[in-house]
């Protein structure tokens, strides 16, 4: 019975990492800076930012850094790619599942080349060591993201978390 319980728990834990869409709440922009943020620009930046989390989840879960390329650039991409290399070396996998985003655009630089978003995220992180689940924890973190425009989309250049 106890074994069955543990197996059920593992199944629940695993299925909870299915790709559910996170809840997204967008606060009205509270911009510093003189540049007006058009609704379409804001919507595109937020859409691309959320897509970046999707890419991040897949890249870390599958240890495939090339999945980052569409959404990340610069230091954000380099750091995430280094994490993937490191966890591969250690035999670790990490699964992230963002559950809820509470987003606010806080800065649109005057020349229009960067947008800064503050995101209070609830996410689950699951650590696996050689495919054995070590733990699953829920974190609530305040992320600062800086996005810059590329050919057809906004890409994340800085992604940095801190205690909420």
């Amino acid at each position: 019975m106890r074994c069955l319980t543990i197996i059920c728990l593992l199944c629940v834990a695993t299925s909870s990492f299915a790709a559910d869409d996170p809840e997204v709440h967008i606060e009205p922009s509270h911009l510093q800076g003189p540049r007006v943020l058009e609704k379409q620009t804001e919507a595109a930046a937020i859409r691309d930012y959320l897509q970046a989390w999707h890419s991040l989840r897949s890249a870390l879960a599958e240890s495939r850094s090339e999945l980052l390329d569409a959404s990340f650039i610069g230091d954000a991409r380099d750091k995430l790619a280094a994490t993937i290399v490191e966890q591969d070396k250690l035999g670790i996998r990490t699964r992230y599942q963002d559950r809820a985003h509470d987003l606010q655009v806080v800065f649109y630089s005057p020349e229009g080349l960067s947008i800064q978003i503050v995101d209070r995220i609830d996410y689950d992180v699951q650590i696996l060591d050689h495919d054995k689940v070590i733990t699953t924890q829920r974190l609530n973190v305040r992320y600062i993201a800086v996005l810059t425009p590329s050919e057809v989309r906004w890409r994340v250049r800085i992604l940095q978390g801190q205690a909420n």
Partner: protein
């Protein structure tokens, strides 16, 4: 069914709690990026310590009851990390922050435009992001000094505190044409952009006329903007001659600050000159 699920959850939670009782750990709530730190555990036996964040992952085999020391440079990527102490009986988890090192060493400076007319209010804008030695965004408010200066030493300065690692300013272009240095600096770190300031639109136009044979030679005085800078060559000046119910118009680019054209010398012609929205003087030519 619901009751069974509830029982299951309670049982599993109790099991997990009991499992985790074997070992606990003590660590700081936050450490500075790049600094040394240690994690103290209780209990006995072997365990595995995981430190997991988006920026870095660390795994160590440890002995419970001993301090695990991490030398400087182990964790350098700022962010929120999960620390897990895993034993044969279960695991204990804690979260902690790696905060950016306080000393800024790099600025990302975005300035616009690279070329603009003189005396434009808030015409030059700059934005900076401030980074520590590990390319972490320094989120603590940090004063950034923006300065615009020209060869003549004219300077405007503005001090701005960063918010979430970013600061911006808007400044006026100066009265004199030429290159201006736009500098963002803090604590010995600076970044410079060169902004080319060009003359503005003509401020006034004055022309003279003289007859050469059957033609009138029309020529402007050197065309200047309102700050006295010679307006750029290539700026179009329009001469219009009205005579006996007819009208001729000639567009002439400035060359060395002056526009010059020849037009037929009709008696009683009225000749005007303009550039953009600026009208110059009018000449009534009565012939000689």
């Amino acid at each position: 069914m619901t009751f069974r699920v509830a029982l299951l959850v309670i049982a599993v939670s109790a099991f997990q709690a009991a499992s985790a009782q074997g070992a606990t750990m003590t660590l700081a709530e936050s450490i500075t990026a790049g600094s040394a730190f240690s994690i103290q555990s209780t209990g006995s036996g072997n365990a595995v310590l995981y430190i997991v964040g988006l920026g870095q992952v660390v795994r160590r085999d440890v002995r419970l009851g001993e301090a695990v020391n991490f030398p400087a440079g182990t964790l350098y990527s700022a962010g929120r990390y999960l620390v897990v102490l895993a034993t044969a009986n279960g695991s204990e988890s804690r979260a902690f922050n790696v905060v950016p090192a306080g000393q800024p060493v790099a600025l990302s400076f975005l300035a616009k435009p690279s070329r603009l007319p003189v005396r434009l209010h808030d015409g030059i804008t700059g934005a900076v992001y401030v980074f520590d030695p590990y390319q972490n965004l320094i989120t603590q408010p940090t004063p950034v000094l923006f300065e615009i200066s020209t060869g003549s030493g004219t300077a405007q300065t503005r001090k701005v505190l960063t918010r979430d690692g970013a600061a911006w300013t808007a400044m006026d272009s100066t009265a004199r044409e030429g290159a201006a240095r736009f500098v963002a600096q803090l604590d010995g770190v600076s970044s410079t952009r060169v902004i080319q300031q060009v003359p503005g639109d003509p401020c006034g136009l004055k022309m003279t006329a003289r007859q050469v044979g059957p033609k009138l030679v029309l020529e402007t005085d050197p065309v200047r903007d309102c700050s006295g800078n010679i307006v750029f060559d290539g700026t179009i000046v329009t001469f219009t001659e009205t005579y006996n119910g007819g009208e001729s118009t000639v567009d002439v680019p400035l060359k060395r600050g002056v526009a010059r054209v020849e037009m037929p010398a009709y008696s009683d012609a009225r000749i005007s000159v303009a550039s953009g929205v600026v009208m110059g003087n009018e000449i009534r030519w009565r012939g000689r």
